[in-house]
């Protein structure tokens, strides 16, 4: 992979629903082989930003280039080279977990059936769901659904993986296992990972760089190495985030 061109290059992104501006002037780059974290309070627009990055929601202003292509101008279907895990999992309820993971392989690769089964089993094994391959999404726990969704996102071995809150709802041990998996995928396969997360431990363990959004600021309030931000950023919200403090302000309940 060329070290020069960034995997994701976002400039001046803006999004509003009606008259409500969610964020504006969001710019950042994600380099190849990086684990990039998007942080911020609930409702600040992390999932919206993610939808913009994967080509599902055209930004009102600005542009996103992913893997060298403009997400909203190119005819080339870059989306098949991006693995996405949605916040709610988005598993297909009428298919078993194995079939869920096999679906992208079936639609977008020429692997024969036996190979699809084997590859899909490996992906489920990587997230620790080897024994649940035959279960339906309605029969598994919320954390298992997250992991199955990650397995499906990895199905085609995409060079870029975007995960929306992969470890929300997981116990600390499973979530640490997931962190390790993300690092292993990055180290062994050289893939790039963008992850939306709230988990401090996870951020500090895996993220090379991070971007913090804030609803009241309407955009990016900090960007950089999370360890440095934790240590020396002066912005009160950033400090509060990394030190788990409540922030006094009109929109927060004190002492809750």
């Amino acid at each position: 992979m060329s070290g020069v061109a960034p995997i994701i290059d976002a400039t001046g992104l803006r999004q509003a629903f009606g008259s409500r501006v969610i964020f504006s002037d969001v710019s950042f780059t994600v380099q190849a082989g990086e684990v990039f974290a998007i942080l911020g309070g609930s409702g600040c627009g992390k999932s919206v930003l993610m939808r913009q990055m994967i080509g599902l929601l055209p930004p009102l202003a600005g542009s996103v280039r992913v893997l060298g292509q403009d997400m909203y101008a190119g005819a080339a279907d870059i989306r098949t080279r991006i693995g996405v895990m949605f916040q709610a999992g988005a598993l297909f309820g009428s298919m078993t977990l194995l079939e869920n993971v096999m679906l992208p392989l079936e639609l977008l690769s020429d692997l024969p059936y036996a190979a699809r089964v084997a590859v899909a089993r490996v992906k489920l094994g990587l997230v620790g769901l080897a024994d649940s391959a035959g279960k339906m999404p309605s029969e598994i726990s919320g954390g298992m659904a997250k992991r199955a969704a990650i397995a499906r996102a990895m199905a085609l071995d995409p060079p870029l993986l975007l995960l929306d809150e992969p470890s929300a709802g997981l116990d600390p041990i499973t979530s640490a296992g997931l962190d390790r998996l993300i690092l292993e995928l990055r180290d062994e396969l050289g893939i790039t990972v963008v992850v939306v997360t709230h988990e401090l431990a996870s951020i500090l363990a895996i993220a090379d760089r991070c971007l913090m959004l804030d609803a009241s600021a309407g955009g990016v309030i900090a960007q950089g190495d999370p360890r440095l931000l934790a240590a020396e950023c002066a912005h009160p919200t950033v400090r509060a985030f990394f030190h788990r403090e409540a922030v006094a302000g009109p929109s927060r309940t004190r002492g809750a």
Binding site: G93, S94, A118, V119, L126, M154, L156, D157, L189
Partner: protein, 372 residues
């Protein structure tokens, strides 16, 4: 003996070399998903001979992702014994090490298809469930006066609006059309005997006693039985029923009774409208054929006794109760998963129609015995 497997130009390739008692699979290029797809059959075929030692020569492999690693491990599995892996670059070896534990033998077989005995048992059980539902329903009715707070009149009105008021245009349209069609169809043969004015008697009796309640019940089953099932089913899928249960609220009283009440009250109203529309449709045809409206009116009045009317309305109440109960029961019995709500709605409509026709038969015998 060497035979390179077919591979797209510039992509990964596989060369199979057999020497004495070893068979070497020499891979080259990037082992990614397209490569795995291209090389899969050839690899498994070449590795399938357990009498020779399997060697996986990865010295020309530039990169390997998890699909490529799966291919290598599946080759090993097809072979039945561990393979000797040579020449793997550090990164390729690392991917293999990452994937190997995940590629354990598949555990657990898929569930066997439902056997006939299981199906019969399921039918038997659902019959039992239906009976239990009736019992619970009666209990809920009996307890309703004590639980008035849980019986929300706003829900009754809303259900009455949706099941009744909004069905009025459809019912009127259907009624007029049925009256038109029946009158027209019977007019032609009756005219030959000069009995055209008796078409009024025929249609009036048929619509008021039978078709009015029956068709209205079909409309109710299709419009509202399915809607009841889908509403309650969605609540169940979203665990809203569980939430109600934890609040100590009885789903029967809060969700089922209002819908039953609404349907039972609205059905006779709709039936009256259907009857009326049917008679209007019939009158349109007859006047079109030159029978004066006064005569039609007179014939209808002569043909119908009040008991025909009330008998029909009683039927309508019974049908409404049955259709609503079956719809609600289908909703409460909703399974899990996204298809479940659709299945619940389907079984509500099918069950509602079957129950209506069966009850119609029972009531016909009953009315006959009573001499109505």
């Amino acid at each position: 003996m060497t035979h390179p497997a077919a591979a797209p130009a510039g992509a990964a390739s596989l060369t199979v070399r057999a020497h004495g008692n070893t068979v070497a699979l020499c891979f080259a290029g990037r082992l990614d998903v397209p490569a795995a797809a291209a090389l899969w059959p050839a690899t498994l075929h070449a590795a399938g001979d357990p009498s020779r030692e399997l060697v996986l020569d990865l010295s020309a492999v530039q990169a390997c992702d998890t699909a490529g690693a799966t291919l290598l491990l599946e080759a090993e599995r097809a072979h039945g014994r561990a393979a000797r892996i040579i020449g793997a670059e550090a990164r390729v070896a690392a991917v293999l090490a990452l994937v190997r534990p995940a590629n354990a033998a598949p555990a657990g077989q898929p569930a066997p298809a439902l056997r006939l005995a299981d199906r019969l048992r399921a039918v038997w059980r659902s019959a039992g469930d239906g009976l239990a539902f009736l019992g619970e329903l009666m209990l809920a009715f009996a307890r309703a006066p004590l639980r008035l707070r849980m019986l929300r009149w706003a829900d009754v009105l809303r259900a009455a609006d949706e099941a009744g008021v909004r069905a009025v245009p459809l019912v009127l349209l259907l009624g007029v059309l049925i009256g038109l069609i029946l009158a027209f169809q019977s007019l032609v043969p009756m005219q030959r005997f000069g009995a055209d004015i008796y078409v009024a008697n025929l249609v009036a009796l048929g619509v008021v006693r039978e078709l009015g309640p029956l068709l209205t019940a079909m409309v109710l089953a299709g419009r509202s039985g399915s809607a009841f099932a889908a509403e309650i089913g969605t609540m169940k899928v979203n665990q809203e029923l569980d939430a109600l249960a934890t609040m100590g609220v009885d789903a029967m009283t809060m969700l089922v009774l209002p819908r039953l009440l609404a349907a039972t009250v609205m059905m006779p109203v709709l039936t009256v409208l259907m009857d009326f529309a049917g008679l209007v449709g019939m009158a349109l045809v007859l006047t079109g054929f030159g029978v004066p409206p006064v005569v039609v009116l007179h014939q209808v009045a002569a043909a119908l006794v009040p008991l025909d009317f009330t008998g029909g309305l009683f039927k309508a109440c019974v049908f409404g109760l049955a259709v609503a109960a079956i719809g609600c029961r289908a909703g409460l019995a909703t399974g899990v998963g996204p298809r479940a709500v659709g299945q619940a709605a389907t079984s509500a409509v099918v069950g509602g129609i079957i129950a209506t026709i069966m009850l119609d038969g029972v009531l016909a015998v009953l009315y006959n015995r009573l001499g109505w």
